[in-house]
């Protein structure tokens, strides 16, 4: 849990992990599954922000777009091109799902950069569910499209003997499960690391007095990096979803 960085003399007291604590929005007490927490609040804000951009921003449908409209159109066009490039034309049927995923993660990451906010995507519970949803839907699509032929994904028919093929099938099966796990660990890890580093630097700044200028400059630099990380990680999550989708649509390697 909270990593205590207490250093004698300097009076540094850094709790970089406290920011990830779930707290009830109203009143005190234990957090149940139905309790409204700061995570609920920030995920709701994420959904609102994404809807504001895509629904309200693009509502004008002007020939010469406003700033919001062109931002929405660029996001749409960019994601659509990505799906078409990676998953092919067949994959375009699932484009709404991928755009939703991309926007949710993008806005959750970006809103988490507001000071004193909460980062839902730094919790593996959130990213795990996102990756699990991708995993389940992609597997379902694979079975729906190809029936049992989808299992050919695990059957390496180029291997010489049947025994070897069975071993390889087990390996392929495990590696099929590795992907959603690494997918979620990666997003959560990236977000958590970045936000923890902010807190550590901020702790230094609090203890150094005039010398605080150095950690503050550091925070500015890391903030820039984190903006990039937020966008790239959302993009990576979406593009990996496309890659898995492509595997499910064309299981014959």
């Amino acid at each position: 849990m909270a990593v205590d960085g207490e250093i004698e003399g300097g009076g540094i007291n850094i709790h970089p992990m406290d920011q990830f604590m779930l707290e009830p929005l109203f009143g005190e007490g234990p957090v149940h599954w139905y309790t409204l927490t700061n995570a609920t609040l920030w995920m709701a804000l994420t959904v609102i922000a994404a809807s504001l951009l895509m629904v309200v921003g693009a509502r004008g449908r002007a020939l010469i777009p406003s700033r919001a409209q062109s931002a929405a159109e660029m996001t749409y066009g960019f994601t659509r091109k990505m799906v078409a490039d990676v998953a092919g034309r067949e994959g375009l049927k699932y484009f709404p799902y991928i755009l939703t995923l991309f926007l949710f993660i993008l806005f959750a990451n970006l809103l988490a950069l507001i000071p004193a906010s909460f980062a839902p995507t730094s919790h593996i519970a959130v990213t795990g569910i996102l990756a699990l949803a991708v995993f389940v839907s992609v597997t379902a699509i694979g079975f729906a499209k190809h029936g049992l032929g989808f299992l050919k994904l695990f059957w390496v028919s180029s291997a010489p003997t049947v025994a070897l093929r069975i071993v390889l099938a087990v390996i392929e099966l495990i590696s099929y499960f590795v992907r959603p796990l690494s997918h979620s660990v990666r997003l959560a890890g990236n977000m958590m690391a970045g936000h923890a580093v902010f807190k550590v630097f901020a702790g230094f700044a609090g203890a150094l007095g005039v010398g605080a200028i150095l950690p503050i400059l550091g925070i500015v630099a890391i903030y820039g990096l984190e903006v990039m990380v937020a966008v790239i990680q959302a993009y990576v999550f979406a593009i990996l979803t496309c890659v898995y989708l492509n595997d499910a649509l064309h299981p014959g390697h």
Binding site: E172, I174, S175, V178, R179, R186, G189, L225, L240, V243
Partner: protein, 120 residues
Amino acid sequence: MDNKDFADRLKRLEDRLGAATAARVERVSPGRSKYTQSSLAWRMVIELVVGMALGLGIGLGLDALVGTRPLFLVVFALLGFAAGVRTMMRTASEVRQGRAEGALARTSPNDEAARGRNGD
């Protein structure tokens, strides 16, 4: 005659467009390319570790069910490791082909321009 003229003009336009596009290929900032490359490296490491951990988990689970403590643990740790390597190699081939996330890590603008020209 007219048709040929038109085709010629189209051809010239295509050439000019191609040249203009090649000239406009954006230089990827060094910070970004470094980040995407290290991000890919992290992805591979995570895949390796997750594969191993998943194998260990499956092995321990099977052992707990059947009661043959070290047997499945050893077998599935190895299989999990192999699965991790398999996933990692798949990522590496993505990078080599410049597909999916690997396309991000491609940095040299000359590369991109050359590919654009060949693609036409």
